[in-house]
Symmetry: C2
Subunit: 381 residues, 2 copies
């Protein structure tokens, strides 16, 4: 109510965010387009643009000369100003992806670990993955502004792993405090995989049950366009439900593969055998699909989603897994949603962790209550 001395800078900060958002949404935009998109006056837009170029958030592009007259200036968001790494910290591996501020993936790194590795070793592997991502993309380590970390088990809002059945020395680890980066966020792996599917998956993924199928298994919900985390961050945490036996499900696949195949490769070998028509392998896949369907059917009955997405590493075996999954769901559900395989495969958790980090950065950068945008010459996010 009324106006005070603080209103002018606040308005300026709001305008900066509006202009920045308009340019980002367009990829590259001319002044007239930004004026139209932002609803601001031309003078205000030009002032803000000059200031954002000076502070290196935007870059003025030299347009190709088309037709007569002076070509209109256009502006591009400097998505290469900073980068984030999304981590997937599992029992057998730590994966990382590096993306720019627009989410374009520039590097993907995987390091093997063992379920029995002590906490410090797993965290060290995560540090190595971040460094290797930056090196792979030929970037200085300081260019990684933010880290998102996904891991198995329940992660509380402060970033502490509350429990993680798949990794003995893991509960109690605080992921946010471990990494030295200015902005670190963490969440459960299946929830992050669903987030990645919503952001990067094929169309119509605004309302889905996401079945995370791989060496780790889980469910997550995207409802009305929003990842459902739950009051305790435990939405779709099936460890609470009797009659859901993820571990036993995996054993069906492992049992049809020779003992000397490493555990980490067994499931893929079973899928490969099923693909070649091996009868025992096909039966094993059907039993596995049944166990997945029992869990998915519970979530389907509760939220009645438009879509069920088969995601995780095993989505790469959708040629042999999708049909049995659909068949088992039809036995269990009066109403089966559309069933579709993700195309993100084993990278889904790391990509979701990167999306989480980018969301947190956007929140910090684009909220007008956070003060003026810092200049990008220094690392000051």
């Amino acid at each position: 109510m009324g106006s005070d001395g603080g209103d002018q800078p606040r308005l300026r900060q709001l305008n900066e965010r509006v202009v920045l958002a308009a340019v980002r949404a367009a990829g590259e935009a001319r002044v007239a387009e930004i004026v139209e998109q932002s609803g601001l006056g031309r003078t205000a837009v030009e002032e803000v643009l000059a200031s954002l170029v000076e502070r290196r958030w935007l870059v003025e592009e030299s347009p190709a000369i088309r037709g007569r007259g002076r070509p209109a200036r256009s502006y591009r968001f400097r998505a290469e100003a900073g980068y984030v790494v999304g981590l997937d910290i599992g029992a057998y591996s730590v994966r990382g992806v590096l993306t720019d501020l627009d989410g374009r993936m520039l590097a993907s790194i995987r390091r093997s670990v063992t379920p029995e590795a002590p906490r410090a070793r797993r965290l060290e592997a995560a540090d190595e993955v971040i460094a290797a991502c930056a090196a792979d993309a030929r970037l200085a380590a300081s260019k990684v502004w933010a880290v998102g970390a996904g891991t198995t088990g329940l992660v509380d809002p402060a970033g502490t792993v509350v429990h993680a059945n798949a990794i003995p020395d893991w509960a109690g680890t605080n992921l946010v405090s471990h990494f030295p980066h200015r902005l670190v966020v963490a969440d459960n792996d299946s929830q992050l995989a669903a987030l990645a599917e919503q952001r990067r998956g094929t169309d119509a993924t605004e309302d889905m049950v996401f079945l995370h199928a791989g060496r780790r298994t889980g469910l997550a919900l995207v409802l009305d366009g929003k990842l459902r985390r739950g009051a305790f961050g435990a939405a779709a945490d099936m460890s609470a439900l009797r009659g859901v036996a993820w571990e036993a499900a995996l054993q069906h696949l492992h049992a049809v593969v020779p003992d000397d195949v490493p555990t980490v490769d067994k499931a893929e070998r079973a899928f490969a055998a099923a693909r070649e028509g091996d009868r025992a392998a096909r039966t094993a896949v059907r039993k596995y699909a049944h166990a997945m369907a029992v869990a998915a059917a519970t979530a389907i009955a509760i939220v009645d989603p438009k879509l069920l997405v088969l995601g995780g590493a095993f989505s790469q075996a959708s040629d042999v897994l999708l049909e049995p999954l659909q068949t088992e769901l039809e036995k269990l559900c009066p109403r089966v949603p559309e069933v579709r395989a993700s195309t993100l495969g084993a990278l889904c958790v790391a990509l979701g962790a990167a999306s989480l980090a980018l969301d947190a950065l956007d929140d910090r950068l684009l909220s007008p209550t956070r003060g003026p945008l810092p200049p990008l010459a220094v690392r000051s996010i």
Copy 2:
């Protein structure tokens, strides 16, 4: 995008809705308050106000004279301009509530029916309830602008009962086409009960699993402030889940009551006996609570809500039911949300049906794409 001849009326319609919404939200508002609330100029607001008064959407109130000077004019939404009836069509009864456009309840009527009654008789009872509601509130039948109907079973978006186990001659009934009113909407009873709880319940009901406990039993979800209907209108439809035995649960209560007590009264008698310390009745209530908890625990595991609300007619027995329900949930759930009893009791479904009708009216009245607001002298919604 440029302007054409259609812009001016559209802007006017938008302004009408903005002003109407501002007055409704305030209850009664002075011009200065409406200007502040709406963000419109004073001249525009005064023009719109005059027009809305002329068409009888608003009434100008004669203010009490406080202090010196000419008292500021104030405006009130004519919530008494029209009314809605919310129906709850069950196996044993049809209930109705009549509310004004602000949702104030002015009448509540109940008619008994039997589960075996033919479809036509049940619909006739519904017609009688609407008429009796209007008569009870001393209103002409034409003052009832809209009807909302809730019923047991699954109701499709067109208002047809898809299935209803509790009433033999009910599946296939189209509720929307039966009633002669201009605006008729219908939905599942448990979902409407949850809607009523969200709108009229005590605080913090923006995120909950609603356990509808009465002669009919069901679950419904309000997530992030929004009733979750689901892709097929079947969210939280537990008929799809094995291991959930609503009917058997009720039998625990019925079994401890003498055979000559009418079925419709048996549960309340069992709760009364438990209240008086009858050991068999208390055991029966605990068994009933266990069955409810099994179903609720499934929904809790999937959506991880802040709150579980015990609603429906049996919420009136919360003094003997809430503690066993909480105890059983603690056995089944790693994370138990806050558990609370509804205060809406047996009226919850009818009140939710009224809310649904009011929402549909608001949508028709307040959407600027629907054309200018009609004058209220004639019934022309």
